[in-house]
Amino acid sequence: MPGPLRMTDPIVIHLSGDAGAVRDGLRRAMAAPALCRLAADQRATVEIVLAEILNNIAEHAYAAGDGPVRLWLRQCGGLLSCRVEDEGLPMPGGRLPRPPVPLPESLAEGGYGWHLIRTLALGLAYERDAGVNRLSFRIPAGQSGQ
Protein backbone atom coordinates (compact mmCIF):
# COMPACT_ATOMS: atom_id res chain seq x y z
CA MET A 1 0.00 0.00 0.00
CA PRO A 2 1.44 3.43 -0.85
CA GLY A 3 3.06 5.56 1.82
CA PRO A 4 0.39 8.23 2.45
CA LEU A 5 -2.06 5.80 4.05
CA ARG A 6 0.59 4.65 6.56
CA MET A 7 1.30 8.17 7.67
CA THR A 8 -2.12 8.73 9.22
CA ASP A 9 -2.91 7.34 12.64
CA PRO A 10 -5.10 4.28 12.52
CA ILE A 11 -8.28 3.76 14.47
CA VAL A 12 -7.41 0.95 16.88
CA ILE A 13 -10.14 -1.43 17.97
CA HIS A 14 -9.75 -4.34 20.34
CA LEU A 15 -11.62 -7.44 19.24
CA SER A 16 -12.20 -10.86 20.65
CA GLY A 17 -14.83 -13.36 19.57
CA ASP A 18 -17.38 -11.04 21.15
CA ALA A 19 -19.80 -9.55 18.66
CA GLY A 20 -20.50 -6.64 21.02
CA ALA A 21 -16.91 -5.48 20.60
CA VAL A 22 -17.45 -5.49 16.84
CA ARG A 23 -20.48 -3.26 17.25
CA ASP A 24 -18.53 -0.77 19.37
CA GLY A 25 -15.54 -0.84 17.02
CA LEU A 26 -17.76 -0.30 14.01
CA ARG A 27 -19.37 2.69 15.67
CA ARG A 28 -15.94 4.23 16.29
CA ALA A 29 -14.87 3.51 12.73
CA MET A 30 -17.99 5.18 11.33
CA ALA A 31 -17.14 8.32 13.34
CA ALA A 32 -13.83 8.68 11.44
CA PRO A 33 -13.24 12.15 9.96
CA ALA A 34 -12.53 10.62 6.53
CA LEU A 35 -16.17 9.53 6.36
CA CYS A 36 -17.89 12.73 7.40
CA ARG A 37 -18.40 14.13 3.90
CA LEU A 38 -19.59 10.94 2.29
CA ALA A 39 -23.09 10.76 0.87
CA ALA A 40 -25.47 8.59 2.88
CA ASP A 41 -25.37 5.74 0.38
CA GLN A 42 -21.57 5.70 0.46
CA ARG A 43 -21.57 5.67 4.26
CA ALA A 44 -23.94 2.71 4.06
CA THR A 45 -21.51 0.88 1.79
CA VAL A 46 -18.60 1.55 4.15
CA GLU A 47 -20.60 0.40 7.15
CA ILE A 48 -21.67 -2.83 5.46
CA VAL A 49 -18.14 -3.70 4.29
CA LEU A 50 -16.50 -2.85 7.61
CA ALA A 51 -19.14 -4.77 9.58
CA GLU A 52 -18.55 -7.89 7.52
CA ILE A 53 -14.77 -7.59 7.73
CA LEU A 54 -14.78 -6.97 11.48
CA ASN A 55 -17.21 -9.86 12.02
CA ASN A 56 -14.86 -12.13 10.05
CA ILE A 57 -11.86 -11.00 12.11
CA ALA A 58 -13.71 -11.58 15.39
CA GLU A 59 -15.03 -14.96 14.31
CA HIS A 60 -11.98 -16.36 12.52
CA ALA A 61 -8.79 -14.38 13.00
CA TYR A 62 -9.43 -13.96 16.71
CA ALA A 63 -11.28 -17.25 17.20
CA ALA A 64 -8.53 -18.46 19.52
CA GLY A 65 -7.85 -15.22 21.34
CA ASP A 66 -8.33 -11.48 21.22
CA GLY A 67 -6.24 -8.72 19.76
CA PRO A 68 -6.11 -5.34 18.07
CA VAL A 69 -7.54 -4.27 14.75
CA ARG A 70 -5.97 -1.24 13.11
CA LEU A 71 -8.10 0.59 10.61
CA TRP A 72 -6.92 3.26 8.18
CA LEU A 73 -9.48 5.21 6.21
CA ARG A 74 -8.40 7.94 3.85
CA GLN A 75 -10.20 9.88 1.16
CA CYS A 76 -8.09 9.99 -2.00
CA GLY A 77 -9.85 11.78 -4.82
CA GLY A 78 -13.06 9.97 -5.61
CA LEU A 79 -12.16 6.90 -3.59
CA LEU A 80 -11.98 5.97 0.06
CA SER A 81 -8.80 3.94 0.61
CA CYS A 82 -9.10 1.42 3.43
CA ARG A 83 -6.70 -0.87 5.17
CA VAL A 84 -7.56 -3.24 8.00
CA GLU A 85 -4.88 -5.07 9.96
CA ASP A 86 -5.21 -7.73 12.61
CA GLU A 87 -2.72 -9.98 14.38
CA GLY A 88 -4.84 -13.11 14.45
CA LEU A 89 -4.86 -16.40 12.62
CA PRO A 90 -4.11 -16.29 8.90
CA MET A 91 -6.74 -16.69 6.21
CA PRO A 92 -7.16 -20.38 5.39
CA GLY A 93 -4.82 -21.24 2.55
CA GLY A 94 -3.28 -17.80 2.82
CA ARG A 95 -5.78 -16.27 0.45
CA LEU A 96 -9.12 -14.49 0.41
CA PRO A 97 -12.02 -16.90 0.64
CA ARG A 98 -14.16 -17.24 -2.45
CA PRO A 99 -17.20 -19.10 -1.16
CA PRO A 100 -20.09 -19.71 -3.56
CA VAL A 101 -22.65 -16.92 -3.64
CA PRO A 102 -25.85 -18.13 -1.95
CA LEU A 103 -28.77 -18.40 -4.35
CA PRO A 104 -31.80 -16.57 -2.97
CA GLU A 105 -34.05 -19.59 -3.42
CA SER A 106 -31.82 -21.73 -1.25
CA LEU A 107 -32.85 -19.57 1.74
CA ALA A 108 -29.38 -19.80 3.22
CA GLU A 109 -28.92 -18.48 6.73
CA GLY A 110 -25.27 -17.65 6.18
CA GLY A 111 -22.61 -17.19 3.57
CA TYR A 112 -23.67 -13.71 2.44
CA GLY A 113 -20.79 -11.81 4.01
CA TRP A 114 -18.05 -12.35 1.42
CA HIS A 115 -20.48 -11.68 -1.40
CA LEU A 116 -21.32 -8.31 0.15
CA ILE A 117 -17.64 -7.49 0.63
CA ARG A 118 -16.66 -8.50 -2.92
CA THR A 119 -19.61 -6.66 -4.45
CA LEU A 120 -18.95 -3.38 -2.65
CA ALA A 121 -15.16 -3.23 -2.21
CA LEU A 122 -12.87 -2.43 -5.14
CA GLY A 123 -9.40 -3.88 -5.50
CA LEU A 124 -9.73 -6.17 -2.49
CA ALA A 125 -6.32 -7.56 -1.60
CA TYR A 126 -4.95 -9.69 1.24
CA GLU A 127 -1.42 -10.14 2.42
CA ARG A 128 0.17 -11.51 5.54
CA ASP A 129 3.43 -10.18 6.86
CA ALA A 130 5.18 -10.95 10.15
CA GLY A 131 2.06 -12.28 11.84
CA VAL A 132 -0.16 -9.44 10.61
CA ASN A 133 -3.14 -9.93 8.31
CA ARG A 134 -3.61 -6.96 6.03
CA LEU A 135 -6.74 -6.37 3.98
CA SER A 136 -6.86 -3.39 1.66
CA PHE A 137 -9.61 -2.11 -0.60
CA ARG A 138 -11.27 1.02 -1.94
CA ILE A 139 -14.82 2.25 -1.89
CA PRO A 140 -16.22 4.80 -4.31
CA ALA A 141 -16.55 8.02 -2.36
CA GLY A 142 -17.05 11.03 -4.58
CA GLN A 143 -18.18 14.37 -3.27
CA SER A 144 -21.43 14.33 -1.29
CA GLY A 145 -24.36 14.31 -3.66
CA GLN A 146 -22.57 12.53 -6.54
Binding site: V22, R23, A44, A51, A58, P104, Y112, H115
Partner: protein, 111 residues
Protein backbone atom coordinates in the same frame (compact mmCIF):
# COMPACT_ATOMS: atom_id res chain seq x y z
CA UNK B 1 -33.08 -7.37 21.38
CA UNK B 2 -36.34 -5.53 21.88
CA UNK B 3 -39.36 -6.45 19.78
CA UNK B 4 -42.95 -5.25 20.20
CA UNK B 5 -45.78 -7.45 18.98
CA UNK B 6 -49.39 -6.54 18.35
CA UNK B 7 -52.37 -8.05 16.54
CA UNK B 8 -53.93 -5.95 13.81
CA UNK B 9 -57.00 -8.01 12.93
CA UNK B 10 -55.62 -11.39 11.99
CA UNK B 11 -52.17 -9.99 11.23
CA UNK B 12 -49.38 -10.32 13.77
CA UNK B 13 -47.22 -7.21 13.54
CA UNK B 14 -43.78 -7.37 15.11
CA UNK B 15 -41.92 -4.08 15.37
CA UNK B 16 -38.17 -4.22 15.94
CA UNK B 17 -37.37 -1.55 18.52
CA UNK B 18 -33.58 -1.94 18.24
CA UNK B 19 -31.93 0.09 15.50
CA UNK B 20 -29.73 -2.74 14.26
CA UNK B 21 -29.92 -6.49 13.67
CA UNK B 22 -26.29 -7.56 13.57
CA UNK B 23 -24.02 -10.42 14.66
CA UNK B 24 -24.42 -9.41 18.31
CA UNK B 25 -28.20 -9.44 18.13
CA UNK B 26 -28.97 -12.16 15.59
CA UNK B 27 -29.44 -15.05 18.02
CA UNK B 28 -31.51 -13.05 20.54
CA UNK B 29 -33.60 -11.82 17.60
CA UNK B 30 -34.32 -15.36 16.41
CA UNK B 31 -35.14 -16.53 19.93
CA UNK B 32 -37.51 -13.61 20.58
CA UNK B 33 -39.17 -14.09 17.20
CA UNK B 34 -39.69 -17.78 17.88
CA UNK B 35 -41.58 -16.88 21.04
CA UNK B 36 -43.62 -14.05 19.59
CA UNK B 37 -44.68 -15.93 16.46
CA UNK B 38 -46.17 -18.71 18.57
CA UNK B 39 -49.24 -16.46 18.57
CA UNK B 40 -51.66 -17.70 15.92
CA UNK B 41 -52.25 -15.36 12.99
CA UNK B 42 -53.03 -15.40 9.29
CA UNK B 43 -50.11 -13.13 8.47
CA UNK B 44 -46.90 -11.98 10.09
CA UNK B 45 -45.39 -8.61 9.23
CA UNK B 46 -41.96 -7.75 10.59
CA UNK B 47 -41.72 -3.98 10.70
CA UNK B 48 -38.12 -2.88 10.27
CA UNK B 49 -38.77 0.87 10.09
CA UNK B 50 -36.64 1.51 13.16
CA UNK B 51 -33.75 -0.67 11.97
CA UNK B 52 -31.09 1.43 10.29
CA UNK B 53 -28.50 -1.34 9.92
CA UNK B 54 -28.52 -5.06 9.25
CA UNK B 55 -25.49 -7.20 8.39
CA UNK B 56 -25.22 -10.70 6.89
CA UNK B 57 -25.90 -12.23 10.30
CA UNK B 58 -29.05 -10.16 10.64
CA UNK B 59 -30.13 -11.16 7.16
CA UNK B 60 -29.55 -14.83 8.00
CA UNK B 61 -31.63 -14.42 11.14
CA UNK B 62 -34.56 -12.95 9.19
CA UNK B 63 -34.31 -15.84 6.72
CA UNK B 64 -34.29 -18.30 9.62
CA UNK B 65 -37.50 -16.77 10.95
CA UNK B 66 -39.08 -17.01 7.50
CA UNK B 67 -38.23 -20.70 7.38
CA UNK B 68 -39.57 -21.20 10.90
CA UNK B 69 -42.95 -19.80 9.87
CA UNK B 70 -43.16 -21.70 6.59
CA UNK B 71 -45.16 -23.25 5.11
CA UNK B 72 -48.20 -22.14 7.12
CA UNK B 73 -47.28 -18.46 7.16
CA UNK B 74 -45.14 -16.23 4.97
CA UNK B 75 -42.95 -13.65 6.69
CA UNK B 76 -43.60 -10.20 5.26
CA UNK B 77 -41.34 -7.24 5.84
CA UNK B 78 -42.11 -3.53 6.00
CA UNK B 79 -40.26 -0.25 6.33
CA UNK B 80 -36.84 -1.21 5.03
CA UNK B 81 -34.47 1.71 5.56
CA UNK B 82 -31.74 2.43 2.97
CA UNK B 83 -28.89 0.33 4.35
CA UNK B 84 -31.16 -2.59 5.15
CA UNK B 85 -32.72 -2.38 1.68
CA UNK B 86 -29.22 -2.35 0.17
CA UNK B 87 -28.24 -5.59 1.94
CA UNK B 88 -31.44 -7.32 0.83
CA UNK B 89 -31.01 -6.07 -2.74
CA UNK B 90 -27.30 -6.92 -3.12
CA UNK B 91 -27.92 -10.47 -1.92
CA UNK B 92 -31.10 -10.65 -4.03
CA UNK B 93 -32.96 -11.72 -0.90
CA UNK B 94 -35.47 -8.97 -1.69
CA UNK B 95 -36.86 -11.45 -4.23
CA UNK B 96 -37.90 -14.04 -1.66
CA UNK B 97 -39.79 -11.80 0.76
CA UNK B 98 -42.96 -9.73 0.33
CA UNK B 99 -41.67 -6.27 1.19
CA UNK B 100 -43.98 -3.34 1.92
CA UNK B 101 -42.64 0.23 1.82
CA UNK B 102 -44.29 0.89 5.15
CA UNK B 103 -46.43 -1.01 7.66
CA UNK B 104 -49.53 0.93 6.57
CA UNK B 105 -49.33 -0.51 3.05
CA UNK B 106 -48.75 -3.96 4.46
CA UNK B 107 -51.89 -3.77 6.56
CA UNK B 108 -53.95 -2.51 3.60
CA UNK B 109 -52.94 -5.39 1.31
CA UNK B 110 -53.30 -9.09 1.92
CA UNK B 111 -49.84 -10.78 1.78
Amino acid sequence: MSLTASMQGTTLVIHVDDDRIDAAGAIPFKERMRGLTATASDRVILDLSNVRFLDSSGLGAVVAVMKLLAPERRLELSGLTPTVEKVFRLTRMDTVFTIHPALAQGLRHAG
